[in-house]
Protein backbone atom coordinates (compact mmCIF):
# COMPACT_ATOMS: atom_id res chain seq x y z
CA UNK A 1 0.00 0.00 0.00
CA UNK A 2 1.24 3.46 -0.87
CA UNK A 3 -0.97 5.04 1.79
CA UNK A 4 0.96 5.33 5.05
CA UNK A 5 -0.51 4.21 8.37
CA UNK A 6 -0.69 7.87 9.46
CA UNK A 7 -2.58 8.90 6.33
CA UNK A 8 -4.90 5.95 6.69
CA UNK A 9 -5.59 6.87 10.30
CA UNK A 10 -6.68 10.33 9.09
CA UNK A 11 -8.91 8.77 6.40
CA UNK A 12 -10.53 6.52 9.02
CA UNK A 13 -11.17 9.43 11.37
CA UNK A 14 -12.85 11.34 8.56
CA UNK A 15 -15.01 8.36 7.51
CA UNK A 16 -16.13 7.38 11.02
CA UNK A 17 -19.37 8.99 12.24
CA UNK A 18 -18.77 11.04 15.40
CA UNK A 19 -20.35 10.13 18.74
CA UNK A 20 -23.43 12.23 19.52
CA UNK A 21 -21.69 13.67 22.60
CA UNK A 22 -24.17 16.45 23.44
CA UNK A 23 -27.15 14.10 23.13
CA UNK A 24 -25.36 11.53 25.33
CA UNK A 25 -24.52 14.16 27.95
CA UNK A 26 -28.13 15.38 28.14
CA UNK A 27 -29.63 11.87 28.27
CA UNK A 28 -27.15 10.61 30.86
CA UNK A 29 -27.75 13.74 32.98
CA UNK A 30 -31.52 13.25 32.83
CA UNK A 31 -31.57 9.48 33.43
CA UNK A 32 -28.76 9.59 36.02
CA UNK A 33 -30.59 12.41 37.76
CA UNK A 34 -33.87 10.47 37.66
CA UNK A 35 -32.18 7.44 39.29
CA UNK A 36 -30.76 9.68 42.04
CA UNK A 37 -34.18 11.31 42.48
CA UNK A 38 -35.68 7.83 42.85
CA UNK A 39 -33.12 7.07 45.56
CA UNK A 40 -34.00 10.33 47.27
CA UNK A 41 -37.70 9.45 46.98
CA UNK A 42 -37.10 6.13 48.75
CA UNK A 43 -35.20 8.01 51.48
CA UNK A 44 -38.07 10.48 51.98
CA UNK A 45 -40.53 7.61 52.11
CA UNK A 46 -38.43 5.90 54.80
CA UNK A 47 -38.10 9.14 56.76
CA UNK A 48 -41.87 9.56 56.68
CA UNK A 49 -42.13 6.07 58.17
CA UNK A 50 -39.69 7.14 60.94
CA UNK A 51 -37.00 4.70 59.84
CA UNK A 52 -33.67 5.52 61.55
CA UNK A 53 -30.80 7.05 59.54
CA UNK A 54 -28.55 3.97 59.76
CA UNK A 55 -31.25 1.73 58.25
CA UNK A 56 -32.13 4.25 55.54
CA UNK A 57 -28.50 4.21 54.38
CA UNK A 58 -28.85 0.46 53.88
CA UNK A 59 -32.33 0.48 52.35
CA UNK A 60 -31.72 3.09 49.61
CA UNK A 61 -28.78 1.40 47.82
CA UNK A 62 -30.30 -2.06 48.35
CA UNK A 63 -33.57 -0.95 46.76
CA UNK A 64 -31.78 0.51 43.73
CA UNK A 65 -29.60 -2.58 43.36
CA UNK A 66 -32.63 -4.89 43.60
CA UNK A 67 -34.57 -2.83 41.07
CA UNK A 68 -31.61 -2.79 38.67
CA UNK A 69 -31.14 -6.56 39.05
CA UNK A 70 -34.84 -7.11 38.38
CA UNK A 71 -34.81 -4.92 35.27
CA UNK A 72 -31.69 -6.76 34.05
CA UNK A 73 -33.34 -10.14 34.56
CA UNK A 74 -36.43 -8.94 32.68
CA UNK A 75 -34.23 -7.89 29.75
CA UNK A 76 -35.06 -4.18 30.12
CA UNK A 77 -31.89 -2.71 31.62
CA UNK A 78 -29.80 -3.08 28.47
CA UNK A 79 -32.39 -1.03 26.59
CA UNK A 80 -32.24 1.71 29.24
CA UNK A 81 -28.43 1.55 29.15
CA UNK A 82 -28.33 1.90 25.37
CA UNK A 83 -30.42 5.04 25.68
CA UNK A 84 -28.94 6.50 28.86
CA UNK A 85 -25.26 5.49 28.62
CA UNK A 86 -23.33 6.69 31.68
CA UNK A 87 -26.64 7.86 33.20
CA UNK A 88 -27.54 4.32 34.20
CA UNK A 89 -24.01 2.84 34.23
CA UNK A 90 -22.34 5.20 36.72
CA UNK A 91 -24.81 4.99 39.64
CA UNK A 92 -24.95 1.82 41.74
CA UNK A 93 -27.53 0.52 39.23
CA UNK A 94 -24.79 -0.02 36.63
CA UNK A 95 -22.74 -2.01 39.10
CA UNK A 96 -25.67 -4.32 39.83
CA UNK A 97 -26.40 -4.70 36.12
CA UNK A 98 -22.81 -5.70 35.34
CA UNK A 99 -22.94 -8.48 37.96
CA UNK A 100 -26.41 -9.82 37.13
CA UNK A 101 -25.88 -9.71 33.35
CA UNK A 102 -22.59 -11.63 33.67
CA UNK A 103 -24.24 -14.21 35.94
CA UNK A 104 -27.13 -14.66 33.48
CA UNK A 105 -24.79 -14.99 30.51
CA UNK A 106 -22.88 -17.86 32.09
CA UNK A 107 -25.68 -19.73 33.84
CA UNK A 108 -25.57 -22.58 31.34
CA UNK A 109 -21.98 -23.35 32.39
CA UNK A 110 -23.09 -24.27 35.91
CA UNK A 111 -23.45 -22.49 39.23
CA UNK A 112 -19.81 -22.69 40.34
CA UNK A 113 -17.57 -22.27 37.28
CA UNK A 114 -20.29 -20.55 35.23
CA UNK A 115 -22.24 -18.11 37.38
CA UNK A 116 -19.84 -17.96 40.34
CA UNK A 117 -16.62 -17.57 38.39
CA UNK A 118 -17.95 -15.08 35.88
CA UNK A 119 -20.36 -12.83 37.74
CA UNK A 120 -17.62 -10.40 38.83
CA UNK A 121 -15.91 -10.34 35.44
CA UNK A 122 -17.03 -6.76 34.76
CA UNK A 123 -17.52 -5.63 38.35
CA UNK A 124 -14.19 -7.13 39.47
CA UNK A 125 -12.02 -4.14 38.44
CA UNK A 126 -14.37 -1.76 40.26
CA UNK A 127 -14.18 -3.90 43.40
CA UNK A 128 -10.40 -4.37 43.24
CA UNK A 129 -9.46 -0.75 42.57
CA UNK A 130 -12.34 0.59 44.68
CA UNK A 131 -11.00 -1.38 47.66
CA UNK A 132 -7.43 -0.24 46.93
CA UNK A 133 -8.42 3.43 46.77
CA UNK A 134 -10.51 3.10 49.95
CA UNK A 135 -7.55 1.54 51.75
CA UNK A 136 -5.26 4.41 50.73
CA UNK A 137 -7.92 6.95 51.69
CA UNK A 138 -8.41 5.21 55.04
CA UNK A 139 -4.68 5.28 55.78
CA UNK A 140 -4.42 8.98 54.88
CA UNK A 141 -7.46 9.69 57.07
CA UNK A 142 -5.88 7.78 59.96
CA UNK A 143 -2.60 9.72 59.65
CA UNK A 144 -3.95 13.23 59.06
CA UNK A 145 -7.24 13.28 60.97
Amino acid sequence: MQTSREDYKKMVKKATPPSAHVQHWILSFLVGGAICALGQGIRLLCEAQKVDEETIRIIVPCALVALSALLTALGLFDKIGKFAGAGSAVPITGFANSIVSSAMEHRCEGLVLGVGANMFKLAGPVLAYGTAVCTIYGLLYLIFQ
Binding site: M1, V12, D78, K79, G85
Partner: protein
Protein backbone atom coordinates in the same frame (compact mmCIF):
# COMPACT_ATOMS: atom_id res chain seq x y z
CA UNK B 1 -25.14 -31.20 -21.59
CA UNK B 2 -22.94 -31.56 -18.51
CA UNK B 3 -19.88 -29.35 -18.37
CA UNK B 4 -16.74 -31.31 -17.54
CA UNK B 5 -14.13 -30.47 -14.94
CA UNK B 6 -11.35 -28.15 -16.03
CA UNK B 7 -7.94 -28.55 -14.51
CA UNK B 8 -6.91 -26.29 -11.67
CA UNK B 9 -4.54 -23.55 -12.78
CA UNK B 10 -2.31 -21.30 -10.70
CA UNK B 11 -2.55 -17.73 -11.98
CA UNK B 12 -0.51 -16.01 -9.26
CA UNK B 13 0.36 -16.82 -5.64
CA UNK B 14 -2.99 -17.53 -3.96
CA UNK B 15 -5.06 -16.85 -7.09
CA UNK B 16 -6.30 -20.13 -8.56
CA UNK B 17 -8.52 -20.82 -11.56
CA UNK B 18 -10.88 -23.74 -11.08
CA UNK B 19 -14.35 -24.94 -11.96
CA UNK B 20 -16.84 -26.10 -9.35
CA UNK B 21 -20.61 -26.03 -9.56
CA UNK B 22 -23.12 -25.03 -6.91
CA UNK B 23 -25.59 -27.91 -6.62
CA UNK B 24 -27.67 -26.34 -3.88
CA UNK B 25 -27.59 -23.70 -1.16
CA UNK B 26 -29.62 -22.45 1.77
CA UNK B 27 -29.59 -19.57 4.21
CA UNK B 28 -31.24 -19.45 7.62
CA UNK B 29 -31.52 -16.47 9.92
CA UNK B 30 -32.81 -15.00 13.15
CA UNK B 31 -35.62 -12.53 13.80
CA UNK B 32 -33.77 -9.32 12.83
CA UNK B 33 -32.47 -10.97 9.67
CA UNK B 34 -36.00 -12.16 8.81
CA UNK B 35 -37.17 -8.54 9.13
CA UNK B 36 -34.45 -7.38 6.71
CA UNK B 37 -34.78 -7.11 2.93
CA UNK B 38 -33.74 -10.75 2.42
CA UNK B 39 -36.31 -12.10 4.91
CA UNK B 40 -38.54 -13.94 2.42
CA UNK B 41 -35.50 -15.53 0.76
CA UNK B 42 -34.35 -17.50 3.81
CA UNK B 43 -35.05 -21.24 3.81
CA UNK B 44 -35.99 -20.95 7.49
CA UNK B 45 -36.04 -18.19 10.08
CA UNK B 46 -36.17 -18.39 13.84
CA UNK B 47 -38.15 -15.98 16.00
CA UNK B 48 -36.33 -16.66 19.26
CA UNK B 49 -32.57 -16.20 19.67
CA UNK B 50 -32.33 -19.40 21.75
CA UNK B 51 -33.66 -21.58 18.90
CA UNK B 52 -34.96 -23.90 21.58
CA UNK B 53 -31.46 -24.59 22.97
CA UNK B 54 -30.07 -23.97 26.47
CA UNK B 55 -27.12 -21.75 25.47
CA UNK B 56 -26.13 -19.40 22.65
CA UNK B 57 -23.37 -21.72 21.44
CA UNK B 58 -25.81 -24.57 20.84
CA UNK B 59 -28.26 -22.12 19.27
CA UNK B 60 -25.57 -21.34 16.69
CA UNK B 61 -25.01 -25.07 16.18
CA UNK B 62 -28.76 -25.37 15.56
CA UNK B 63 -28.48 -22.66 12.86
CA UNK B 64 -25.73 -24.60 11.07
CA UNK B 65 -27.66 -27.86 11.25
CA UNK B 66 -30.74 -26.20 9.74
CA UNK B 67 -28.72 -24.55 6.94
CA UNK B 68 -27.01 -27.85 6.10
CA UNK B 69 -30.29 -29.77 6.10
CA UNK B 70 -31.93 -27.29 3.70
CA UNK B 71 -28.87 -27.08 1.41
CA UNK B 72 -28.55 -30.87 1.12
CA UNK B 73 -32.25 -31.08 0.31
CA UNK B 74 -31.89 -28.35 -2.35
CA UNK B 75 -28.95 -30.25 -3.89
CA UNK B 76 -30.84 -33.53 -3.60
CA UNK B 77 -27.95 -35.12 -1.68
CA UNK B 78 -27.85 -37.01 1.58
CA UNK B 79 -24.19 -36.57 2.45
CA UNK B 80 -20.98 -34.84 1.37
CA UNK B 81 -17.54 -36.40 0.86
CA UNK B 82 -15.88 -33.47 2.50
CA UNK B 83 -17.06 -30.52 4.58
CA UNK B 84 -15.44 -27.12 5.10
CA UNK B 85 -17.05 -25.25 7.96
CA UNK B 86 -16.40 -22.43 10.34
CA UNK B 87 -17.89 -20.01 12.82
CA UNK B 88 -16.79 -17.33 15.27
CA UNK B 89 -16.90 -19.46 18.42
CA UNK B 90 -13.79 -20.63 20.24
CA UNK B 91 -12.56 -23.96 18.85
CA UNK B 92 -15.09 -23.70 15.94
CA UNK B 93 -17.65 -25.23 18.31
CA UNK B 94 -20.74 -24.78 16.14
CA UNK B 95 -19.03 -26.46 13.19
CA UNK B 96 -17.68 -29.36 15.23
CA UNK B 97 -20.98 -29.96 17.03
CA UNK B 98 -22.84 -29.84 13.70
CA UNK B 99 -20.47 -32.41 12.22
CA UNK B 100 -20.77 -34.56 15.34
CA UNK B 101 -24.33 -35.17 14.12
CA UNK B 102 -23.68 -35.31 10.40
CA UNK B 103 -20.50 -37.38 10.39
CA UNK B 104 -19.02 -35.92 7.17
CA UNK B 105 -15.21 -35.78 6.94
CA UNK B 106 -14.58 -32.21 8.05
CA UNK B 107 -11.97 -29.45 8.06
CA UNK B 108 -12.75 -26.64 10.52
CA UNK B 109 -11.81 -23.12 9.47
CA UNK B 110 -11.38 -19.71 11.05
CA UNK B 111 -10.88 -16.42 9.24
CA UNK B 112 -13.44 -14.41 11.24
CA UNK B 113 -15.99 -12.91 8.82
CA UNK B 114 -13.95 -14.10 5.82
CA UNK B 115 -14.59 -17.73 6.81
CA UNK B 116 -17.45 -18.15 4.32
CA UNK B 117 -15.37 -17.01 1.34
CA UNK B 118 -12.50 -19.17 2.62
CA UNK B 119 -14.75 -22.24 2.91
CA UNK B 120 -16.14 -21.66 -0.60
CA UNK B 121 -12.63 -21.25 -2.04
CA UNK B 122 -11.38 -24.47 -0.42
CA UNK B 123 -14.57 -26.39 -1.27
CA UNK B 124 -14.34 -25.25 -4.90
CA UNK B 125 -10.72 -26.42 -5.14
CA UNK B 126 -11.60 -29.77 -3.55
CA UNK B 127 -14.49 -30.29 -5.96
CA UNK B 128 -12.64 -29.05 -9.05
CA UNK B 129 -9.55 -31.15 -8.34
CA UNK B 130 -11.55 -34.33 -8.12
CA UNK B 131 -10.54 -34.73 -4.48
CA UNK B 132 -14.21 -34.97 -3.60
CA UNK B 133 -17.33 -35.69 -5.59
CA UNK B 134 -19.62 -33.68 -3.33
CA UNK B 135 -18.31 -30.94 -1.04
CA UNK B 136 -20.27 -28.92 1.49
CA UNK B 137 -19.39 -25.56 3.03
CA UNK B 138 -21.28 -24.09 5.95
CA UNK B 139 -20.56 -21.00 8.03
CA UNK B 140 -22.51 -19.32 10.81
CA UNK B 141 -22.53 -16.59 13.41
CA UNK B 142 -24.92 -15.79 16.24
CA UNK B 143 -25.32 -12.29 17.66
CA UNK B 144 -25.66 -13.42 21.28
CA UNK B 145 -22.82 -15.97 21.13
CA UNK B 146 -20.49 -13.39 19.54
CA UNK B 147 -21.39 -10.69 22.08
CA UNK B 148 -20.68 -13.14 24.90
CA UNK B 149 -17.32 -14.17 23.49
CA UNK B 150 -15.98 -10.88 22.13
CA UNK B 151 -17.83 -8.08 23.93
CA UNK B 152 -20.17 -7.85 26.90
CA UNK B 153 -22.97 -9.99 28.35
CA UNK B 154 -26.19 -9.58 26.40
CA UNK B 155 -28.09 -7.86 29.22
CA UNK B 156 -25.24 -5.47 30.05
CA UNK B 157 -26.46 -1.90 29.65
CA UNK B 158 -23.70 -0.39 27.51
CA UNK B 159 -23.79 1.90 24.49
CA UNK B 160 -22.53 0.77 21.07
CA UNK B 161 -19.97 3.06 19.39
CA UNK B 162 -21.01 4.86 16.18
CA UNK B 163 -18.87 2.65 13.89
CA UNK B 164 -19.94 -0.68 15.44
CA UNK B 165 -21.61 -3.39 13.37
CA UNK B 166 -24.17 -5.99 14.38
CA UNK B 167 -23.13 -9.64 14.25
CA UNK B 168 -25.71 -11.47 12.14
CA UNK B 169 -27.61 -14.42 13.57
CA UNK B 170 -27.46 -16.46 10.40
CA UNK B 171 -25.90 -19.40 8.61
CA UNK B 172 -25.38 -20.27 4.98
CA UNK B 173 -24.57 -23.64 3.46
CA UNK B 174 -23.50 -24.50 -0.10
CA UNK B 175 -23.15 -27.90 -1.76
CA UNK B 176 -20.58 -28.04 -4.55
CA UNK B 177 -19.70 -30.63 -7.15
CA UNK B 178 -17.20 -30.96 -10.01
CA UNK B 179 -19.90 -31.21 -12.64
CA UNK B 180 -22.98 -29.19 -13.40
CA UNK B 181 -25.13 -27.97 -16.24
CA UNK B 182 -26.00 -24.57 -17.64
CA UNK B 183 -28.05 -22.57 -15.20
CA UNK B 184 -25.98 -23.66 -12.25
CA UNK B 185 -23.90 -21.11 -10.40
CA UNK B 186 -20.21 -21.83 -10.79
CA UNK B 187 -17.05 -20.91 -8.90
CA UNK B 188 -14.33 -20.11 -11.43
CA UNK B 189 -11.57 -18.70 -9.22
CA UNK B 190 -10.44 -19.07 -5.64
CA UNK B 191 -8.39 -16.27 -4.07
CA UNK B 192 -6.63 -16.52 -0.72
CA UNK B 193 -5.79 -13.33 1.12
CA UNK B 194 -2.68 -12.02 2.80
CA UNK B 195 -2.82 -10.72 6.35
CA UNK B 196 -2.91 -6.93 6.13
CA UNK B 197 -2.55 -4.61 9.11
CA UNK B 198 -2.80 -0.84 8.75
CA UNK B 199 -2.48 -0.16 12.45
CA UNK B 200 -6.13 0.09 13.52
CA UNK B 201 -6.34 -0.54 17.28
CA UNK B 202 -10.00 -0.02 18.16
CA UNK B 203 -11.95 -3.31 18.04
CA UNK B 204 -15.05 -1.25 17.22
CA UNK B 205 -13.50 -0.12 13.95
CA UNK B 206 -13.58 -3.47 12.16
CA UNK B 207 -14.62 -1.99 8.82
CA UNK B 208 -11.60 0.31 8.86
CA UNK B 209 -9.30 -2.58 9.80
CA UNK B 210 -10.62 -4.80 6.97
CA UNK B 211 -10.91 -2.33 4.03
CA UNK B 212 -7.14 -2.42 3.22
CA UNK B 213 -7.25 -6.25 3.16
CA UNK B 214 -10.15 -6.12 0.67
CA UNK B 215 -8.14 -3.73 -1.50
CA UNK B 216 -5.07 -5.98 -1.40
CA UNK B 217 -7.00 -9.08 -2.48
CA UNK B 218 -8.94 -7.13 -5.12
CA UNK B 219 -5.72 -5.77 -6.63
CA UNK B 220 -4.03 -9.17 -6.66
CA UNK B 221 -7.07 -10.75 -8.29
CA UNK B 222 -7.53 -8.07 -10.98
CA UNK B 223 -3.81 -8.22 -11.79
CA UNK B 224 -3.75 -12.03 -12.00
CA UNK B 225 -6.89 -12.27 -14.16
CA UNK B 226 -6.25 -9.12 -16.24
CA UNK B 227 -9.79 -7.95 -15.56
CA UNK B 228 -11.30 -4.60 -14.51
CA UNK B 229 -14.13 -3.86 -12.05
CA UNK B 230 -16.40 -3.20 -15.06
CA UNK B 231 -16.09 -6.89 -16.01
CA UNK B 232 -18.24 -7.79 -12.99
CA UNK B 233 -21.91 -7.22 -12.29
CA UNK B 234 -21.00 -6.90 -8.66
CA UNK B 235 -17.91 -6.75 -6.45
CA UNK B 236 -19.35 -7.93 -3.16
CA UNK B 237 -17.40 -7.40 0.04
CA UNK B 238 -18.28 -9.46 3.09
CA UNK B 239 -19.27 -7.01 5.78
CA UNK B 240 -17.15 -3.90 5.69
CA UNK B 241 -20.24 -1.96 6.78
CA UNK B 242 -20.86 1.66 5.78
CA UNK B 243 -17.55 2.97 7.18
CA UNK B 244 -15.34 0.21 5.74
CA UNK B 245 -17.12 0.41 2.36
CA UNK B 246 -16.53 4.16 2.11
CA UNK B 247 -12.86 3.58 2.98
CA UNK B 248 -12.49 0.82 0.36
CA UNK B 249 -13.89 3.09 -2.37
CA UNK B 250 -11.50 5.86 -1.30
CA UNK B 251 -8.51 3.52 -1.17
CA UNK B 252 -9.35 2.06 -4.61
CA UNK B 253 -9.38 5.57 -6.11
CA UNK B 254 -6.21 6.59 -4.36
CA UNK B 255 -4.14 3.43 -4.76
CA UNK B 256 -5.41 1.86 -7.99
CA UNK B 257 -7.16 4.74 -9.76
CA UNK B 258 -10.31 2.58 -9.91
CA UNK B 259 -13.88 3.73 -9.38
CA UNK B 260 -15.84 0.98 -7.58
CA UNK B 261 -18.91 2.94 -6.51
CA UNK B 262 -21.14 1.62 -9.32
CA UNK B 263 -20.21 -2.03 -8.91
CA UNK B 264 -19.45 -2.39 -5.21
CA UNK B 265 -21.95 -3.81 -2.72
CA UNK B 266 -21.41 -4.94 0.85
CA UNK B 267 -23.06 -7.95 2.50
CA UNK B 268 -23.28 -6.05 5.79
CA UNK B 269 -25.45 -3.43 4.13
CA UNK B 270 -27.60 -5.87 2.13
CA UNK B 271 -28.72 -8.00 5.07
CA UNK B 272 -30.58 -5.26 6.97
CA UNK B 273 -32.65 -2.18 6.18
CA UNK B 274 -30.05 0.55 6.75
CA UNK B 275 -31.37 3.32 8.94
CA UNK B 276 -34.56 1.48 9.91
CA UNK B 277 -33.07 -1.45 11.81
CA UNK B 278 -30.84 -0.92 14.84
CA UNK B 279 -27.67 -2.46 13.37
CA UNK B 280 -25.07 0.32 13.62
CA UNK B 281 -23.20 0.78 10.34
CA UNK B 282 -24.33 -2.63 9.04
CA UNK B 283 -24.20 -6.35 9.66
CA UNK B 284 -21.09 -8.41 10.31
CA UNK B 285 -20.18 -11.90 11.45
CA UNK B 286 -19.26 -14.97 9.47
CA UNK B 287 -22.94 -15.75 8.91
CA UNK B 288 -23.61 -12.36 7.30
CA UNK B 289 -21.87 -12.96 3.96
CA UNK B 290 -22.95 -16.63 4.09
CA UNK B 291 -26.60 -15.61 4.36
CA UNK B 292 -26.44 -12.86 1.74
CA UNK B 293 -24.66 -15.07 -0.80
CA UNK B 294 -26.94 -18.08 -0.22
CA UNK B 295 -30.21 -16.13 -0.03
CA UNK B 296 -29.60 -13.47 -2.68
CA UNK B 297 -26.49 -13.83 -4.85
CA UNK B 298 -26.50 -17.53 -5.80
CA UNK B 299 -30.24 -17.51 -6.67
CA UNK B 300 -29.65 -14.36 -8.79
CA UNK B 301 -26.84 -16.16 -10.65
CA UNK B 302 -29.04 -19.22 -11.10
CA UNK B 303 -31.92 -17.13 -12.47
CA UNK B 304 -29.58 -15.18 -14.75
CA UNK B 305 -30.17 -11.72 -13.24
CA UNK B 306 -26.49 -11.67 -12.26
CA UNK B 307 -23.72 -13.10 -14.47
CA UNK B 308 -20.39 -12.50 -12.77
CA UNK B 309 -19.82 -11.65 -9.12
CA UNK B 310 -16.55 -11.26 -7.26
CA UNK B 311 -17.10 -12.15 -3.62
CA UNK B 312 -14.47 -10.69 -1.30
CA UNK B 313 -15.06 -11.93 2.26
CA UNK B 314 -13.26 -9.78 4.82
CA UNK B 315 -12.27 -10.81 8.32
CA UNK B 316 -10.76 -8.99 11.28
CA UNK B 317 -8.33 -11.47 12.84
CA UNK B 318 -8.15 -10.05 16.34
CA UNK B 319 -8.70 -12.29 19.35
CA UNK B 320 -10.68 -11.30 22.43
CA UNK B 321 -7.39 -10.52 24.21
CA UNK B 322 -5.04 -9.23 21.48
CA UNK B 323 -6.31 -5.59 21.61
CA UNK B 324 -5.82 -5.63 25.40
CA UNK B 325 -2.21 -6.69 24.80
CA UNK B 326 -1.71 -3.59 22.67
CA UNK B 327 -1.82 -5.39 19.32
CA UNK B 328 -3.25 -3.73 16.23
CA UNK B 329 -5.95 -5.56 14.25
CA UNK B 330 -4.73 -7.79 11.41
CA UNK B 331 -7.27 -8.40 8.66
CA UNK B 332 -7.69 -10.78 5.76
CA UNK B 333 -9.79 -11.05 2.63
CA UNK B 334 -10.47 -14.32 0.82
CA UNK B 335 -12.54 -14.47 -2.31
CA UNK B 336 -14.20 -16.44 -5.05
CA UNK B 337 -15.40 -15.44 -8.49
CA UNK B 338 -18.92 -16.65 -9.14
CA UNK B 339 -20.54 -16.93 -12.52
CA UNK B 340 -23.50 -18.60 -14.19
CA UNK B 341 -22.52 -21.79 -15.96
Amino acid sequence: MPTMTQPIQRLAPGVIKCAAFVLGQAAVGGRQEAQGPLGPKFAETFGRAELGEDCWEMAETHLQQAAMRHALRAANRRAADLHFGGDLLNQCSATNFTMREMQFPVAGLYSACATFAESLALAALAAASGAAECVSACVSSHFCAAEKQFRFPLEYGGQPTPASQRTATAAGAVILGPEGSSGHAKITHAIFGRVVDMGIKDANEMGAAMAPAALDTLKRFLDATHTMPGDYDMILTGDLGAVGSALLLKLARRELGLELSGVHRDCGMLLYHAGEQDVGVGGSGAGCSAAVVCAEILPALQSGSLRAVLLLGTGALLSAISPLQGETIPAICHGVRLTRA
